[in-house]
Symmetry: C2
Amino acid sequence: MARWVHELAAERGDAEYELVDLRDYALPHLDEPNAPAMGNYRHDHTKRWSEKIASFDAFVFVTPEYNHSIPGVLKDAVDFLYAEWAHKAAGFVGYGVDGAVRAVEHLRHVLAMVSVATVQAQVTLSIYADFENHTTFKPAAAQEERLSLVLDQVLAWGGALRPLRAA
Amino acid sequence: MARWVHELAAERGDAEYELVDLRDYALPHLDEPNAPAMGNYRHDHTKRWSEKIASFDAFVFVTPEYNHSIPGVLKDAVDFLYAEWAHKAAGFVGYGVDGAVRAVEHLRHVLAMVSVATVQAQVTLSIYADFENHTTFKPAAAQEERLSLVLDQVLAWGGALRPLRAA
């Protein structure tokens, strides 16, 4: 799903897009001794994650839903940092039996606390409608248009908020 | 805070209470290859956690609030298992600037999916009202009564649901 998002985004030619996989950052459960809001990180895994997130203007989160919320690994990925998220925009692509809509609502609450502006448009990929035999990803035709709208909104807000990030 | 809960609970003499610290279970981010609902665990850390949670009739979750929700480590602790939680009761003791009330609401959503009955009473410990100098835990007098109510409700529901667990 994330590759599909990245490929369609890259085709737009209106921004640089990068696919970030949490697997490549190997964050443990939050283990920094100081509050992330202090920005005083001790661990190399945190510094590396901080540099990566600081390098973006906006995000599209691609997430499953585990027990009506986001996976622990995604929660930790947000909680490890603070200022790196601030005054940036985010959109969402959820996948699951019900398009991960509950997980994304939780994630919106979480991101509010780190000053991420979450856009209205959202892609909800259904195991029934967007996967062949519930396994092979074959998004319905309309999903491409929905993703396009998410990207439009994320770019617009990400750009509009830029002066606040420079300050 | 968890020790305070455990000590007051143990004084009641109406059930066996045990303090479970996630630090002692060293769960990574969810890494089981099969869905936990299948109960077919591969890893020793999961089997050990499964045995521990299976041994209880009810729970009191003691949690902080990180960015308006629960910590990733607690989310993973729930997500690793499935049947071990079912038809049991849970209460909550939250601590933080606002008593972790948003984190606990998220946790109630999560636990609904694993068939945990979450009771109405709740202890909300405030950094301002229940800690000296925002650091030393000195719960306000009324908190003991609130915790007592949480335990009353957790025991009542945990007992009432027992026939469903035996089935």
